[in-house]
Symmetry: D3
Subunit: 132 residues, 6 copies
């Protein structure tokens, strides 16, 4: 199995509902350093899993909808907490839609899976892994 | 599949038995930067795999039994080498016991697996992965 | 010259006033990974610049006043932007006050300078350096 | 499952064939920071997956054939692009041959899998994972 | 003193003249992860040393002249080795020219110094520091 | 001013004398990831501050005297604590002696200063900086 990972980041505000979150129930924020990993069993005729330039551009495009925003106001997270886990899934599912729409080209037809990891600090991160 | 990882560290002394270890048969030491990854198929009603604060506290509590110690004197490693692999398993098994005892709360009931990675330097690390 | 650095982090919300900030004029947030560097020309009788445990505790105490907050509501940043540079200075000046009050003990009497670096992402950071 | 990872690097020149590569069709180069991960279900009698010293030496030996070279001139990549994915596979397959030849010793008989990750920058990396 | 640092990277080929370089006399390459640090004694009225967005754009513009190229063919390095040190100076001097031309705006008038660091691997890097 | 930095590491045991150290008075250990930075105002005729290969070899040679040892038994630290600061100075002073003896060659005649940084974990490090 081959995989390719590209990294970008977003800077967002949000707050959480639920006693378990303690002081994180207050309005605060995070830099999420975001890694998107694309996996495939075979390489295409160019010798790649997916073009790193295109993958980077699609990840940026998905993240642009979140960047410099208060996630408490975003319809995508209405009625649920925008935890690191939930944002990881949101990014993975949006990337999966774009792959399905052909945004990553013919090479992406061989993709088997996608993992999105969000680093919220140097001591904590979360991932969501799915098939394609 | 979702996962959450938290990081902490310990500073220990130890020595190894066995010619394969060369100069590491002498009493020496290590900083282990420890990553504990908790995996689950579903999020709980708060939208998390496990609370990062609680996970960090439980990891610290497990590591406190090793921190600033000579592992050659610890009963947990009597009769075996406290290699990076063995310490990774020790930490994972102690965390698994605590999860079973409810230390990570109701959300941890959905946990499927646990991986503990110990970084012994910038150029070497070891992991132990288990189900829950 | 000797120096010791300790690292911690905060997760904050804020917005900026001024066209130069573009989309960062909207309410957003950041994880600041904070490095505090204490410098001195001589070591104390224990062989240290400053005790790492005490330095870590004082840094945490200063950061606790910012953590999980919206800096737009904090009096410390009233009438000015809580840019990475300004927050770095705020942290450095609060640490300097505590050193002056003896919070870091006798060893800290030899300290010559203090630098605080805030990493706002994997590709951008800011520092404030001052004498003591 | 246990695993051990060791890290080294190579500095190579190359160019790519195919429009998808854009400016990377020109002769350019890369530092590949290379992580080799060895996985096994059991530890040997010394308590290790594989000796870190030996693993590091074998990885260095495999990388020495690529280091400070123009991969466009290397027979191993004749007729195909030396993409990060392809170089990851090359390194993994050469390491697998050496494990089969006994270069990593008796402990390596328990190895189940091997993953090689090449970091081409702070924002992009690729992996190849195989069984043994 | 305040400073702001932004990070980007380039991927280049080159070779060196001189016995001291050993195998690096052959055509090879490098990923340079490039950090540009802008220093100033005062913040501007927006509370910044320099706009991170503009600094990132100017660094990218300077690096674009090197990216995906064989530095042996670049007039900027004719008659000298494109060592990590020399490339660091090249990037710093080009950035200084742009600052002088007003590319970083009014805020950059307060700048006192500039440091460019090129990381050629996880175990080696070089810097060039200059006044403005 | 130019500088070049190379990185290596050592794994040592030690204990500290003095109440300030708390649990670190017990026998424990550390991995020190060691960065040695060589600074000079001019480059030599090859375009370098110092040869990275030679600098790496000299750093390894100095560290070999500490590696896999209990620093409590080393004459170099008799009567004083082998704190991160003291070990940083020890490494810097040994490197300075070697530079004076010509171990780094003619290029090293231009060197102005030397800084050694020891990372004892992902959240704490210490440096010693000296002239040459």
């Amino acid at each position: 199995m081959y995989s390719v990972t590209v990294r970008d980041h977003v800077m967002i505000a949000h707050s959480f509902q639920g006693e378990v979150f303690g002081p994180a129930q207050r309005l605060h924020g995070a830099t999420f350093v975001v890694d998107a990993t694309f996996s495939g069993r075979e390489l295409d005729q160019d010798g790649i899993v997916v073009d790193i330039g295109r993958a980077t551009a699609e990840l940026r495009s998905v993240l642009a909808d979140l960047d410099y925003r208060n996630l408490d106001d975003e319809p995508a997270f209405a009625g649920k907490n925008s935890t690191t886990e939930q944002v990881a899934r949101f990014v993975a599912d949006r990337l999966a839609e774009r792959i399905g729409d052909g945004a990553l080209g013919a090479g992406a037809r061989n993709l088997a899976g996608l993992t999105v990891t969000l680093h919220e600090s140097h001591v904590a991160w979360a991932s969501y892994e799915r098939t394609l």
